[in-house]
Symmetry: C3
Subunit: 392 residues, 3 copies
C-alpha cells in the first residue's frame, strides 16, 4: 500500500489514474433499486451486472464468456442457486465464482473448460447500498474501506442519495478536498445566503489521519471580507447587505475547545478526505456527517453518492433527523448546494493549472492518494473474497 | 476463389473482414422505394446513390468527382440518357460507366479528363429488390450469387422485408449459422411457445453444398429437456407446463425418409449458409423457405433482408401463401421472432469467445467463408459488368 | 506577409489550414447580443469569452488559469474595472491584459505569479458587430482588415445577419470564390428564377487587387444555354419557358463602359475575394454590396456573417434601402439563396477533386491565400494591441 497504481492513464496534472483507484469498495446502487431483474452498472470503466438471488447480491462482468452477449439481459432461472443464465444460449454462471456451471443447450454432460468463466466482483449490501469491490486482488473486508460513520450502523443511521456528473472523478474529488471554493461559489446557496461569507482561510493544513487512510483538513485565520486595490470590497455591498444571520449549521466551524464534536466525541476534523475518493464533512455538534463518495464510472462520468449520517440518539431524535433531511437538507444541500458544484465541475476543461493557497487540500490529497492508494497484493496473502449480504 | 480477402480489417475472432465480403451482389432496397428521386444507400462502408432512368436502375459512388458534393442530391435532367447531374455545377455522369459526359456550366466543348469519373456499381432489379454488386472486379452474373429459390422467379414467389441492426454483419450471420440459440432465446416466440422446447443438438454437422457456395447444417440426436446437477430441470416447470402442441412449422425437423422436401424435391438440408452472408431455412413440406440475407452497411450497422419464398403451386395456393404471410409469418416471424434476435445481437460486445458444441455451424461457416470468399479476378478474364433490369 | 501558415493541419487539397487563417480580425457576434452576461464563442477552434464592461468589449480565453473552469460562467463583479471573475474561486482577470489581478478567496496580499493569466484577445465593436483578432502577434488595426464598405460607416450603412454551417470554412469560401455554381445551383432561387440562366463563363479571370489584400473576379464571354450531344439543351425547356425577364439585380453584370459602379465610383470588380475569408458582391449601380465573411468556428463548423452594405445617399434612400432589405433581400437572398448554398456545402465530403474551368476563381483564391496570408510579426515591430470600442 505504498506505491501509486501503475500502467494507468493519469488524469491531467493530478497524478491519479483517470479511471479511478482500483482495489477498493465503492457504493454503486441503492439496494431497493435492485429487484428481480439483473441491473447493468458501470464502474471504473468496467461493465458489471448486479443481481439478487437467495438473499445475496452478486456482481459479474456483464459480457458472457461464450459469445459476448450482455448477461444483464439474462435471468436467474434457478432460484437459490446464485446463478445467472445468459439470454443467448443459456450459459449459466455462478455469482460466487464467475464460473460457468451449465450450458443449458448442450446437456448436463457438456464439458466446461476453465476459460468458460467471467470475472466475479465481491458485492455486499450495507446501509441500504450495494457495494462492489473493483480490483485485481482478493477483496479486503468491506468495513476496512468504510468510515465508521457508515460501517457502524448500530450507532449511525443513514439516508443516501446519488447523482451522475459528466466529469472525471478527480475533478469532483478536488472539489471536495477542502479547496476553498465554498465561500465564493456557494455564497448564494440557501445554507449560506444569510450568513457572513464563509471565511476563506489564510492558513490551510492537511494532516494525515491516524489510521493512515486519509487526511484531515484544517482552516485557520480565515477572513470573510477584504478590500482589493483597484476593484473594491469583496463581498460587494450588493452581495452582503442581507447577510444578517450569525454563522450556523454548515457555516459554523468547529471550536476546538467547546464543540461537542471535539469535547464529547473526540472528532478531530470537521472535514476529512479518505481513500479511495470520499469526503466527510461534519458539524460542531458531532451528531451529523455528510459523506460524499466520488465513484468513477468511466474517465468522463462520475457518480456522486451522498450519505447523510445521523448519530442514533433515540426515536425522537431520529424523527427530528429525518424531518431535518426531508424538509431542509434534501433541498438545500443534496439538491441546490450540490447543483452549484455540478454546474461548475461539468464546466472544467483539463489542461494546465496554476495551483494556489486555496488548493492546499487539493494538492495534499492528490499526493496522499497517489502515494498511498492500495495496490494489488498476491492473493495468497489475503483472506478469500467476501460475498455476503449484511442486514441493512 | 480460394483465398480470404486481404488487407481488410478483420472483426473480432471471426477471421472475416469487418466491413463485409467484397465482390458479391447484395440486396439493398425494395424496388418500389426507388422512384423519381435518387436514393442514397450505404453498402460495405461505401456511399452509393441509386437512381432509375429509362427503365433501368443505376448505382454510382455518391460523391461528385469535381468538388465532392453528394450526387444523391442531384437530378436526372435528361430522361432516357441514364445520366445523373450533380446539383452543384451540373457535372453529368453516365450511370453505365460512371464517366462524366457533360459539364453543364462549361459548354459542350469543355474537355473532360479521364479522372472526371465516379465508381459505377453494377445494379439490377430482381424479385422486387434492387441488387448491387460491390467489389473490385467485373461483376459476375447476378444469378450466380442467388439461391435458386430467389433466382427462379417463375417457380418461386417472394415477399421481402428489411430491418436495420446496430451490429457487425458477422454477429448477425453467426446468429443465423445454425448456432443453436433458437431453443433457448426463441423458446418464448409465438412460433415455438406452445411446442416442446426445440431440440438442442447433441451432434451438429456442417456439410459443404455441392455447388461449393455454402454449407448445409444438420442436427442429430437433439434433446429437449435435461436435469442439470445443482440447478434442476431445463426447461423449468414454470416454462414448460403450457407446451402442449406437437412440433409443427418452424419447430418440425425434416424427416429424411418421409418429408416431401427430401422425397419429392430432393432438398437435402433444412438449413443452409451461403456466401456471401445468407441463410436459408426451409420446411419439411419443401414448399417454403425463408432466406435471410445479411447485408453489411458498415462495420457497426447491418441490414437484414428477409425473403419469404413460396413455391408457386397455382393461384389458390398463392392466395393461401399470401394470407399465411399477412396473418401469421409477418407478425410471428418477421417481426416478433426477429425482434428477439435484434435484441440480442445489439447487446453483443466484441472480445474473446469460448466456442462450444453449439457453435459447430458458426465455426464451420467462418472457416468456409474465410477460405472460399470470392476474390477479385483480372477484369479481362470475366465478361463485362452487367447492368440490366430484369422483369420483376 | 508572404509565406503560408506553418504547422497547421491543411484541409483536403486546398493548401489552407483547416482551422482558419490566424492573425486576422473576424466578426463574431451582433453587438446587441452581448449584454450583461458574458458570452462564450468559439473561433478558429479556440474557446473565447466575450464580455462588456464600462462601455468596452473584452475577449479572454474561456478557461480559468487556476483550475480550468469556464470564465463565461463568471461575472463582472466590479463595474468599470474591465475585469471578469471566475465562478469557482473568484480569480479575477483583467480584460485588457488577461492577467489575474485578484484572488478573491485569498485576500489582497496574495501573490499572483506571472502564470496566473489567460490569453487576451483584442476586441472591438464596429458597424454593430463584435470583432475579435485571433492570432499569435500583436493585433493590426481593425480597419486594416475591413473592406472600406464596412469600415467607412459614415459612407455606408450596414444590415448584418449570421448563420452557422456544418462544414469547413474553406468549403464555404470556395463556394463564394466566383466558382460558377450560381447559374446551376441557384437557377431556381427567387432572385434568378424568371431571368435567363445566369451566364456561365467561357473565360474566367482572377486579378490581384491593388491593395494586395485579395482578388477581383471577372467573367467574360459567358453563355446561358447550349446543346449537349447525347443529352439535349441546357437549360431544358421545362426549366426555361418561364424565364421571361431581362437580367436585373443580382443577374445583371457590370458594364465596364456604362455602369455607375465603374463610371461614377471607380469600382473595378463586381465580385472580390479578400483575406482572410470574405467575398464582396456588388451591383452595377455601385450603391450596394453584399459582403459575406466566412468565419472559421472549428474544422467542422463555419459561421457565415453577411453584411448588406448600402451607400448612404440621404434619409429617403436609407428608407428605401431598409425596405429593400426587409421586403426582398432578407427573404430572397439572406434566407432562400443562402439556404441553397447551405444545403450543398453541408453535403460535400472531403477527398480528391478534379478542378476545371469553372474553378478558376477557386484555384486562384486558394493560391493567393496560401501565399499571402499574414504571418506573425515580432511584436516589437507593431503598435500594441488595440482594444477600444468604436461608436457603432
Amino acid at each position: 500500500m505504498s506505491a501509486p497504481q501503475q500502467d494507468a492513464e493519469l488524469y491531467g496534472e493530478t497524478g491519479l489514474p483517470a479511471s479511478g483507484l482500483r482495489n477498493y469498495w465503492y457504493p454503486v446502487l441503492a439496494a431497493w433499486r435492485l429487484r428481480r431483474r439483473p441491473k447493468a452498472v458501470r464502474l471504473l470503466g468496467e461493465d458489471i451486472v448486479l443481481y439478487r438471488d437467495g438473499g445475496k447480491v452478486y456482481a459479474l462482468a456483464d459480457r458472457c464468456a461464450h459469445r459476448g452477449a450482455k448477461l444483464s439481459y439474462g435471468k436467474c432461472l434457478y432460484a437459490g442457486s446464485g446463478t445467472l443464465s445468459c439470454p443467448y444460449h443459456g450459459w449459466t454462471f455462478s455469482g460466487e465464482t464467475g464460473r460457468c456451471v451449465a450450458k443449458l443447450m448442450e446437456g448436463p454432460q457438456a464439458k466446461i473448460p476453465d476459460a468458460a468463466a467471467v470475472k466475479s466482483y465481491p458485492a455486499r449490501v450495507l446501509a441500504g447500498v450495494v457495494w462492489v469491490f473493483v480490483g485485481d486482488m482478493a477483496a479486503v473486508p468491506l468495513e476496512e474501506d468504510l468510515p465508521e460513520y457508515i460501517a457502524k450502523t448500530a450507532e449511525w443511521s443513514c439516508i443516501s442519495t446519488w447523482r451522475t456528473y459528466r466529469c472525471n472523478w478527480t475533478v469532483m474529488k478536488d472539489n471536495l478536498s477542502h479547496d476553498q471554493h465554498a465561500p465564493f461559489l456557494h455564497r448564494t446557496a440557501p445554507e449560506l445566503l444569510f450568513q457572513p461569507i464563509f471565511p476563506h482561510a489564510s492558513r490551510n493544513l492537511a494532516i494525515p489521519l491516524e489510521d493512515g487512510k486519509g487526511l484531515g483538513h484544517v482552516a485557520e485565520g480565515g477572513i470573510s471580507s477584504a478590500e482589493y486595490p483597484g476593484l473594491g470590497r469583496f463581498p460587494t455591498r450588493r452581495e452582503s447587505w442581507f447577510r444578517i444571520l450569525r454563522p450556523v449549521g454548515r457555516g459554523k466551524e468547529i471550536d476546538r475547545d467547546k464543540s461537542p464534536a471535539v469535547v464529547k466525541y473526540g472528532i478531530k476534523f470537521r472535514q476529512m478526505s479518505r481513500l479511495p475518493s470520499l469526503s466527510l464533512i461534519g458539524r460542531p455538534s458531532g451528531d451529523y456527517f455528510v459523506c460524499r463518495w466520488v465513484v468513477p464510472v468511466d474517465a468522463g462520468t462520475t457518480l456522486l453518492y451522498t450519505f447523510n449520517l445521523f448519530r442514533r440518539r433515540g426515536p425522537l431524535a431520529a424523527i427530528g433527523d429525518w424531518l431535518t433531511w426531508v424538509l431542509w437538507l434534501s433541498w438545500a444541500h443534496d439538491w441546490l448546494f450540490s447543483e452549484q458544484d455540478k454546474w461548475i465541475v461539468e464546466a472544467i476543461k483539463p489542461g494546465p493549472e496554476v495551483l494556489s493557497r486555496t488548493d492546499v487540500g487539493v494538492v495534499a490529497w492528490r499526493r496522499f492518494a497517489a502515494a498511498n492508494a492500495r495496490r494489488p497484493q498476491p492473493a495468497a496473502s489475503r483472506p478469500p473474497a467476501v460475498n455476503d449480504t449484511a442486514a441493512e
